[in-house]
């Protein structure tokens, strides 16, 4: 098992290096004149050259890449051309908010999607199945940012049940930072009022994010349950006269879930990508909002770094899923 995990972890290295190359190409090679943009339209030639020297942009490309890579290894993601703040500092400040949002959305999608998919499979070709089929195609087709706007319109503006946006009221102090997740931090601090506030702010963005993965998990779970229900051991169990409930919960569920796990891993990356839109709608102070505000000012070091961080998280999540898969299904370990 340990060897299996170690091999998976070693496999990340080339992927990481490849990703830095892609991001470097996007950041330094594609744009026409990053320095000119940063210096502004009225900058003199000398000023532009000074700025280029400051950021090392006058060096040959491979030297620039080497500088970039060795910086990355030391946790230096470069500097924002505009704010002149190190990107790594900003990322560290914004990442917990994004992760909290993504994990809650994923949790919601799993908690609702798996039982719903199981139910759709059990009641296959009856009305709950048809209904869940239509609703899940609709959920996948729904643009997340439009769903977010509709939720805001209904629950924040008309009914005024939930806050419009943000992560925590500005006038109050957020719970003491241990994990950076406000919900968990407030539980750790035993502060139930803060927990409730954090949940209220989290609710709408998490729902807006979770709908589409929920639908995909549902469909995946339905398909894999139907497949498992056609296996011989299920027929045997049925022939032995076991109750349908026992068959579904004891024998089918476990096998069907392991097939859905892979999708959940893939969806983690998709959620991280989509966080940009939902964070923009709800002013959620995460890396997605950070990236969009940087894009507006054509400051691409933050954008590229956010893409890199999301790629790394995605790869890590898939390796975690691989390992989990190996734990559930011993066959995978020995391949």
């Amino acid at each position: 098992m340990l060897r299996f995990i170690l091999r998976r972890i070693l496999l990340i290295l080339p992927v990481l290096i490849g990703m830095t190359i892609i991001m470097f190409v996007i950041a330094r090679v594609l744009p026409g004149d990053p320095v000119g943009l940063a210096a502004g339209p009225n900058a003199t030639r000398a000023e532009i050259e000074a700025l280029a020297r400051e950021f090392g942009l006058d060096q040959p490309l491979w030297v620039q890449y080497w500088t970039y890579l060795s910086g990355l290894v030391q946790g230096d993601f470069g500097t924002s051309l505009f704010s002149r703040r190190p990107v790594a500092t900003d990322l560290a400040a914004y990442l917990p908010a994004t992760l909290e949002l993504v994990f809650s959305a994923l949790l919601l999608a799993i908690v609702v999607g798996i039982p719903a998919g199981l139910m759709a499979a059990v009641w296959r070709n009856k009305w709950p199945d048809y209904l869940s089929n239509i609703l899940s195609v609709a959920a996948i087709s729904m643009p997340r940012f439009f769903l977010g706007l509709l939720l805001q319109l209904c629950f924040a503006m008309w009914l005024m049940w939930l806050p419009l946006g943000g992560r925590f009221p500005i006038i109050f102090d957020p719970p003491p930072g241990i994990t950076g997740f406000y919900t968990i931090d407030s539980i750790l601090a035993g502060d139930w009022e803060s927990f409730w506030t954090a949940m209220r702010y989290l609710a709408l963005p998490a729902i807006a994010m979770s709908l589409s993965p929920l639908a995909t998990i549902l469909r995946m779970m339905r398909a894999s349950t139907i497949e498992v229900m056609h296996q011989d051991y299920v027929t045997t169990a049925r022939a032995l006269g076991l109750s349908p409930r026992l068959i579904v919960f004891k024998y089918v569920l476990r096998n069907a879930i392991s097939a859905s796990l892979t999708v959940i891993g893939l969806y983690f990356g998709w959620l991280l990508g989509g966080t940009v839109l939902v964070e923009t709608v709800f002013d959620w102070p995460g890396i997605g909002l950070y990236a969009t505000s940087a894009i507006v000012s054509q400051d691409f070091m933050p954008v590229v770094s956010v893409a890199l961080v999301i790629g790394v998280l995605f790869v890590t999540a898939n390796i975690a899923i691989d390992v989990l898969y190996g734990l559930i299904n011993p066959k995978v370990r020995y391949q």
């Binding site: 195609v137 087709s141 643009p143 706007l149 998709w270 991280l272 940009v276 839109l277 790629g311 995605f314």
Partner: protein, 295 residues
Amino acid sequence: MTDVSQDSRRSARAEASRRAFYRFRQSRLSMVGATMVAVVLFFTLFGNLLAPYPEHVRGGLNTAERFQAPSLAHPFGTNELGQDVLSLVMAGTPVSVAAGFAVVLIGTVLGVVVGALAGFNGGWIDDVLMRFSDLMLTIPSLILAMAVAAALGPGFVNMIIAIALSWWPGYARLVRGEVLQAREEVYVAAARAIGASPARVLFRHILPNIVSPVIVKMSLDMGFAILTVAALGFIGIGVRPPTPEWGTLLSIARNYMPDFWWTAVFPGLAMFLAVFGFNLLGDGLRDVLDPRARR
């Protein structure tokens, strides 16, 4: 002799496609999807002509009629510039559909070239190309498109390039898998045996036989491509106003909620319905064309 065999082959093909069409019609959801797509395509072709206030589509404004609620004269109301929202939504259809189609088409062409080269040649070419596309797949497409679009600058063409660059790896993987499988088929061995060149084997024998999974993926991707186009518009790096694009319309309208909700809700609904139609159609096509997905 040849005539007879060709005739029977042709009629077998016709029979197969008749059956596929029958199965497609039997599925009510696929028919709903096909109808919705037909409506979307109708507005793609004629949306600009049918818009009741064509001058608003071209960027003209009417400040006397700002923020009018939906009425008979303006079924979808008017926006902050007094423009008729219905006209903008109608004229936005060709923009979104064309951009989505261009993305899927460029992505498919790139993906088919890469996938076919990798699957047909094998060896180090396969390794290099597939490792590269796996790498591209590890970065979520929206983020990659954002980074590229940020580097290239805003605009219609740049946006399409940015999304298409993040789109091809899925096709490359699909096509490679299919080519690898088709390479072992008897008809390929037969073509080789009678001396067909590798290029002929690939283009005349293998590629025509793997068209249907590619078409299924294209139709499933069409809705998602429209969503991505709208998403980039919403973030502010897509199509620039006054070109009416659904995502851009929504991002502007967001500032005028909740009082003037119609400026946001109608473009959003148009987007949702178009994507919904393409997804239903894609699901239906997959069930018909891809026997492995049929249950």
